[in-house]
Amino acid sequence: MRKTILISGASKGIGLATAERFFREDNDVTDYVLLARKSDDFAEAEKELLADNPFGKKVFCYEIDLNDRDAIGQLMPKIIEKHGNIEFLVNNAGYTAPDPIHEIDFGDFERTIGVNLYAPFLIVQHLLHLGNTFEYIVNVASTAGITGRSGWLTYSSSKAALIAMSQVLKEELAIYGTRVITISPGRCATALRRKLAPDEDPTTIMQPEDVADAIRMLTSPVGRYVDSENLVVRL
């Protein structure tokens, strides 16, 4: 049986590491629908995946700005038409432009909420309306959504909302047998972290591959015993 995973923000960081983690494993996830903004990283990511494809899996890349609601509304029916049911969804794409409240540009706040909160909501709602039944949805939140720090107002707010939304979805989608998994990584060596903490040495902190391993565990059968909580992973 062929199963399809959709991963947003898949051009780098935790999204790409998660794609690689599933892709290089002998499992029933055969089709990889990857979403990211147009970038050299994204083109490179596709090449990298296909260069080492031990189980003959398929990769489909869609360039999209997830802050564009109309674009999400147009893309989801196309994805369903081409790929059929999406069994697994990883809402990973994240955006941040950290600033203290006195300096926050409202447009940046809107973009943060747009990418980090509205996009996962819209992807799930559009797919549900199209009759999609998920086996699981992974929402990549953040410890920033649990504890606020100076300068992170917009990002922390968006992730706190994502954690709350995940709890609601978990209850509402239980009637379909859908698992809704929330993971909140602490500091992790990604481009986004670099914006939040520009002076940090990324080699000293958790790596995207570590988070991908945790996501893999949560989606495995044993993950059922862990996924009732927003799982915090941090070094």
Binding site: L128, H129, L130, G131, N132, E171, E172, A174, I175, Y176
Partner: protein
């Protein structure tokens, strides 16, 4: 193949005044959605007849679209009585076998529908043992008129399945004899059909009062799993 006839037509005010009873929401999800989702992946059920109270068809259609129910649905306006509703739904039934359910039982499971379909008789109802004693009385004089043997009584539940012709004959009988039944298993039995039961589950109770709604929500949320 089977048609699910989902009774959804009577307007009741016992739970929320001013709203038809079937728009009861359990955990904020309309109660009618739970059985629709429970049967949507059952291949033996290829038609659903959903009845609606006058004026509510658009609402029903929107909810069915929002929740992306895939099984084809025929919408039939509810009648003045349960008899009338079932009769008008039967006219639209394309299959030889009918399953009756009501939206006021949202805790029904897919497995229960499957067990009903798998039962080897044609006319079968879920029924429950009665854990209390009932007495026959004369309500006018308040006199107790005898006793009933609990072991030979059952609490009639839904869903039920019938051969379509059996259900039609039952309703023709009720019309001819001018008698009213509140459910169809006893109606068909009295009309002369062979009707059987299989044991039901007390989780699949009828949501009637505000307390029922809260209890159903609690059970559906599964919050009772801590040690």
């Amino acid at each position: 193949m089977y048609t699910l006839a989902l009774l959804n037509g009577g307007v009741g005010t016992r739970v929320a005044a001013g709203q038809p009873k079937q728009l009861i929401r359990v955990n904020h999800i309309p109660a009618m959605i739970y059985p629709l989702i429970a049967v949507d992946d059952i291949p033996e059920i290829d038609q659903i007849i959903l009845n609606f109270p006058a004026g509510w068809e658009d609402t029903m259609r929107k909810l069915v679209a929002d929740y992306a129910i895939k099984t084809p649905i025929t919408y039939v306006e509810g009648g003045d009585t349960r008899h009338a509703s079932v009769r008008s739904m039967l006219e639209h039934c394309d299959n030889e076998h009918v399953i009756l359910h009501e939206t006021a039982r949202p805790l029904v499971t897919k497995a229960e529908f499957e067990a009903l379909i798998a039962a080897d008789k044609d006319n079968v109802s879920f029924m429950l043992e009665i854990p209390f004693t009932v007495a026959p009385v004369d309500p006018d004089t308040q006199q107790v008129t005898g006793s009933l043997e609990r072991a030979r009584l059952r609490n009639v539940q839904l869903p039920q399945k019938f051969r379509k012709t059996t259900l039609e004959a039952g309703h023709a009988y009720a019309q001819k004899e001018d008698v009213v039944f509140t459910e169809d298993a006893t109606l068909c039995a009295v009309a002369g059909a062979d009707v059987y039961y299989i044991p039901g589950n007390d989780r699949n109770f009828k949501v009637t009062t505000k307390t029922d709604v809260r209890l159903a929500g609690y059970l559906l949320a599964g919050d009772d799993d801590d040690a």
